[in-house]
Amino acid sequence: MPNPASPQRQSPGAGMKILITASALATTVAGWASLTLSQAAGAASPNPTPTGDPVADLPALPTIVPAPDLGKVSVSSAPSLSPSAPVVLRKVGAPSLRSVSRPSSAPGPVTTTRSSHP
């Protein structure tokens, strides 16, 4: 019987993990959104001089923020998730936002279920 205090076993979670958090994605999308809205304001009002009309009376701007093309968003691998590293890289490729790679071979069992055994 294995020593319960120090089980000798292989960690089944040894595979590389690729992860992006929802908050990181939200931050990036928000960044895109604010940039695009600034550009849109300039385009809608070519003369920057105020006309005196209150801004509040302006009709609502059309939604021109492009939805992120999730199919073209890939994520950095876990080792790159340092504070200085980009969290999201925009490139064509991996289709999933979150994936966890599994070990290619089955992990070794920590124990076995069977009918009563001594």
Binding site: P12, T113, P118
Partner: protein, 297 residues
């Protein structure tokens, strides 16, 4: 409980080691309460006093309560009132002692008492067995011990407790991964059928492969079918069930074995919390639909 156990805490440090060191003493206490093979056990004192309400410890109360709940859920297919039938089948001593006997004399099985005749007084915390009725808590006690120990260990870290094949986990391992647990192949020594990845709950196996003995002309085993008072006549060699608790897994595995390949899978499918794997006499392996999500692929 006449069997080995294993406890793992997925954490380093003295706190985890100290907690683990307590596990054998927990099992020793529980065995002293629940074993049919210890003459001074609380269970045997209760069995010897049928017809008279007996005060029960928290442990005995808890396990009898779960045994009755298992009987209710399984429609009586798993009943604690089978002690006399087990003994009539030859299981009147430990498996080790049975192994040293060439063949036991045949006995007619007694009828099995209706589990609904047990009386439990919650306020007084007493249990009263009907006259002539004795309890066996074997498998349910094993599952209960696994559940209880895993719950006690989780304060020190993610835990797994294997009480002789009834396995409970407190949650995923420290790295978030499920615990890999092999399902033994009853047709092949040291063989493995599947690898179950268990993050929560429990898994248990009930089988007639490991413990069997000859009584008269016939091979007997310890899974009693309460409908006949005899060891179950079934084409299932072993049944493995994943369930929210080890008690539930143990009871459901027994039901699957008793009902056989025709009724066992259907019964498991009808209970949403259960997933099962049945090994048949002819070598076939039957898995319920929900078992696929637990098995390594």
């Amino acid at each position: 409980m006449g069997s080995g156990m294993l406890a793992i805490v997925d954490a380093d440090g003295p706190a985890a080691a100290a907690r683990l060191a307590l596990v054998p003493s927990w099992f020793e206490v529980w065995e002293g309460r629940l074993s049919r093979f210890r003459s001074e056990s609380e269970l045997n004192r209760l069995n010897a006093a049928a017809g008279v309400p007996q005060p029960a410890s928290g442990v005995l109360w808890d396990v009898v309560e779960r045994a009755i709940e298992a009987a209710r859920v399984t429609g009586g297919l798993v009943s604690p009132t089978i002690a006399s039938a087990l003994e009539a089948a030859g299981y009147d001593r430990t498996f080790e002692a049975i192994g040293s006997v060439a063949a036991l004399p045949a006995q007619a099985p007694p009828p099995i008492a209706d589990w609904r005749r047990l009386r439990m007084d919650r306020r007084e915390r007493t249990i009263c067995l009907p006259p002539g009725v004795r309890l066996d808590l074997g498998g349910i006690a094993k599952g209960w011990a696994a559940d209880r120990a895993a719950r006690r260990l989780r304060v020190a870290g993610p835990a797994l407790v294997d009480a002789s094949g009834d396995i409970a986990v407190s949650g995923p391992q420290a790295d978030g991964q499920p615990w890999p647990i092999a399902v033994a192949d009853p047709h092949q020594a040291d063989g493995q059928l599947d690898l179950i990845m268990l993050s929560h709950g429990a898994v248990a196996t009930s089988g007639r492969d490991y413990h069997r003995w000859k009584q008269g002309e016939f091979w007997q085993h310890h899974i009693i079918d309460p409908r006949t008072s005899r060891p179950a006549d079934t084409d299932v060699i072993a049944a493995t069930v994943v369930a929210p608790t080890a008690v539930e897994a143990e009871a459901a595995a027994k039901v699957a074995l008793i009902l056989g390949s025709r009724g066992g899978p259907e019964w498991l499918e009808a209970h949403p919390g259960l997933a099962g794997l049945l090994v048949l006499e002819d070598g076939r392996v039957v898995r319920t639909a929900r078992m696929r999500k637990h098995v390594w692929r």
